[in-house]
């Protein structure tokens, strides 16, 4: 069990070493990176907006219920929704969802390429397949996911507004007062650090799973599932570690 774990960790590190090597042709890598940016960024816009609006709305409704009958001022709802979005929901929940969408897609894409001998064909031509197929995905994710997380934060705050102001739970001024209260720029830094780390995890772990697929469709399905499961575990573990490091 432990030997197996160490074997896979070692293999993952070796793959990363191979991935971060000098590109054969920058323009080909650039083209592939642009394609990945479109896939990851534009392709995930709708799902990110949808989950974010509901995350913000649910947070607002839940905290409104929690604060009901207490001495805590109601405008605190805006403050709580904002910090919850910035610190946790925008980076973590968004990346967990993206691990399911983008990560499984990457594992399936690379796994299919392995099975259909596309990777062998590139290897044979002399292409560093780990670098050409994985590096553009990492670069694209590390640039696009923080942008998606930023959007998620704004939309979640908007979701909180929609769930509370039109329903009369609190006024727009109260919500805005909450949003402006106790703002710490460090929290935004924390959000971006998390976004970058999670983006790295949700691309490299699925790529590792897909790149080394052996066998047929059942193994490909397993690799895709493992990609999501392991990415989620790694993201949550990293979330905890970052929380400890960045708030200590």
């Amino acid at each position: 069990m432990i030997f197996n774990l160490l074997y896979h960790i070692g293999r993952y590190i070796m793959l990363l070493k191979q991935t971060f090597s000098r590109p054969e042709n920058l323009s080909m890598y650039w083209k592939e990176t642009m394609r990945q940016m479109e896939d990851i960024g534009i392709g995930s816009l709708i799902i990110v907006v949808l989950i974010s609006v509901f995350m913000g709305a649910v947070a607002a409704v839940q905290f409104s219920y929690q604060l009901d009958g207490t001495l805590v001022p109601r405008w605190y709802i805006g403050y709580i929704v904002r910090d919850l979005a910035i610190i946790e929901s925008a980076p973590t929940i968004t990346c967990l969802v993206l691990a399911g969408k983008v990560g499984s897609n990457m594992a399936a894409e690379l796994g299919t390429m392995r099975q259909k001998e596309h990777i062998d064909a590139m290897d044979l031509m002399g292409v560093n397949t780990a670098a050409y197929l994985i590096l553009p995905k990492i670069i694209a994710a590390v640039f696009m996911i923080p942008l998606l997380v930023t959007l998620s934060g704004y939309v979640a705050i908007g979701g909180g507004f929609l769930a509370t102001v039109p329903t009369g739970t609190l006024s727009a001024d109260e919500y805005e007062r909450g949003l402006r209260a106790f703002f710490l720029p460090h929290n935004v830094t924390m959000m971006y650090v998390k976004a970058v780390v999670f983006a790295f995890i949700l691309t490299t772990v699925p790529c590792f799973q897909g790149y080394y697929v052996k066998g047929g469709n059942i193994e490909l399905g397993k690799a895709s599932t493992n990609a999501v499961v392991y990415s989620n575990i790694m993201i949550l573990l990293a979330d905890y570690l970052l929380a400890v490091l960045l708030t200590g």
Partner: protein, 254 residues
Amino acid sequence: MIRAENIFKEFDGHEVLKGVSMEFNPGKTNLIIGRSGAGKTVFLKILVGLMEPSAGKIWYDKIDFFSLNKKQARAIRLEVGMLFQGSALFDSMKVEENVRFPLDMFTTHTLAEKNKRVDSCLERVGLVGAHKKYPSEISGGMQKRVGIARAIAMAPKYLFCDEPNSGLDPRTALLIDELIQDITYEHNMTTIINTHDMNSVMEIGDNIAYLHEGRLVWQGSKEDVLTSDNELLQGFIFASPFLQRLRSAALKQG
């Protein structure tokens, strides 16, 4: 010239290749034949360097391939073209992009020069006008042709073909065989084909190597196949009673 020297390969204690040695010369279509599970594909993958042998050496002219570092191996690979069993065309790229891929990756030619080369390769395999199609929009035979066009785009010295006729009707298979043979002669390439298609054996086999249970048991030309008294080879080539009768009749007529 490519030379395999005493190649062994085992997977989890199971020996697939048991000391295979053979030589492949330029300007000839070299066929590796054998029953399913004989070790043909493993041998081909070792020859092209996609798999390392458990023991033995592969020589490209006077260079021991597996002693090379990555950079040196890459230089050799630029001289290798391969047609895969399933063609291995990149689904997200058009036909022309597939053929241009190695040129885009490894040359500094202008786009016009690269396109000119793509045109000539596609023309050579008889695919004029398929440039803008995706692999999913063309037939299996056309995909094989695109695979050949991509394999020859870098003007390789060595051409490898893994089951080039699999999934093709006999007529198309014959055309693909002829195309591979013509290209081999035109460019004086060392071509190695892994097949169990008997039509290929009798049509284009300049040098045929028969693998049986991981060992090389027979080697000769297509003319030698008919007259060989190797029982394993005869049992493989003339497997059906019809073919056995045909062979007897052919031998009687001299």
